[in-house]
Symmetry: C2
Subunit: 210 residues, 2 copies
């Protein structure tokens, strides 16, 4: 319905085997950095992992990590293998201000998850819930990369508590609708979900809490 056409414009005219922007360089080095990053983020969490430590574990210079992956947040997102960049996807949530932010957040979220391809790769991450390393990746990935930036962008008070409440409702929807496919949630139309969950999220985001 309101797909943003991500990635459609940039690839126009690129034939098979043609040069596409920056050359891939040494794929082994890139893979080694990514593997080291994934391992460290999983064992030490987002806060306990530095670019320097990832570089050391991969046997390369920190500058090379930045060169391939950008910032620590970029590297973390690459390690999570998310199908989309949540920072970009969530921009419209904060742009509209606090009024209606709950509903906009929900629409972005459902738009991403209702896409079959996104859903498969996100569910692979969710299944990591069974293991401590996957739990740490998920906790930091969901809270630091998805919800914390929304709270900061909205400028709400008590952002940690409010965004944890929001996350608790949305994680529950993920588990029941997408992972367990529990009815009637699995078959509800996005508009119906927005009507039901929008007020909950809006209260968590914006209304006075006890």
């Amino acid at each position: 319905m309101n797909g943003a056409g991500v990635g459609a414009s940039a690839s126009a005219g690129a034939g098979a085997g043609a040069r596409r922007g920056r050359r891939p360089g040494a794929p082994d080095t890139r893979a080694a950095i990514l593997g080291a990053a994934r391992e460290l983020f999983a064992s030490s969490g987002y806060g306990g992992t530095s670019i320097r430590a990832v570089a050391a574990a991969a046997g390369v210079d920190a500058a090379l990590v930045h060169h391939y992956f950008g910032t620590k947040d970029d590297l973390f997102l690459a390690a999570l293998q998310l199908p989309i960049d949540p920072r970009a996807a969530l921009v419209p949530v904060a742009e509209g201000g606090l009024g209606g932010a709950g509903e906009r957040l929900l629409r972005v979220f459902l738009g991403v998850w209702d896409d079959e391809q996104n859903q498969q790769s996100l569910l692979a991450l969710v299944r990591g819930l069974a293991e401590p390393s996957g739990q740490r990746l998920l906790r930091d990935g969901v809270l630091q990369m998805v919800f914390a930036p929304v709270g900061r962008a909205l400028g709400i008070d008590e952002p940690d508590r409010r965004m944890a409440l929001v996350a608790s409702q949305m994680v529950g929807v993920v588990i029941l609708r997408y992972l367990l496919r529990a009815e009637p949630l699995a078959s509800m139309a996005p508009d119906d979900l927005v009507a039901v969950y929008g007020p909950t999220l809006q209260r968590y985001l914006a209304e006075p809490l006890p």
Copy 2:
């Protein structure tokens, strides 16, 4: 507190090796029935599993399954290896009527989950989320055994949809507070959680929904 004193009365005066009321019978048969039940509930779901099929898979008569385990619901609860019987624990939720039911449900739920021993055995079930068989057990276990009876007892309209909404919020709390131990949710006092989530659950249970 309200332990029924199971097996206590029959064994009075019985020394080691003496007959203690009903003989334990064949523990292998009991284990075989439970194993067959667990397998069938996991592969065919609650609705697709009959006592008769469990008996056939275990190579025993259906009457023996009833003898050891009672009703199909009792057998399903035994297969789930829940640390408590949710049907008994949830009685106070419906007894108070619809007013305040959200808050009472939350208090029972937090009381069960905040107990360290319950929590460990419930988390073992939650980690089953990673596998299709565990997903089916969880979906049917949570919805059929925990939430559906509450909806029926409260006599609410649209019980399936309302209880799925309630479940979606409570499952999210389980994941963030108990499994991922995400702050500040992991450290919030039960009263604070009730103040925050009570109105959400009450709306899902009792207020007009779109």
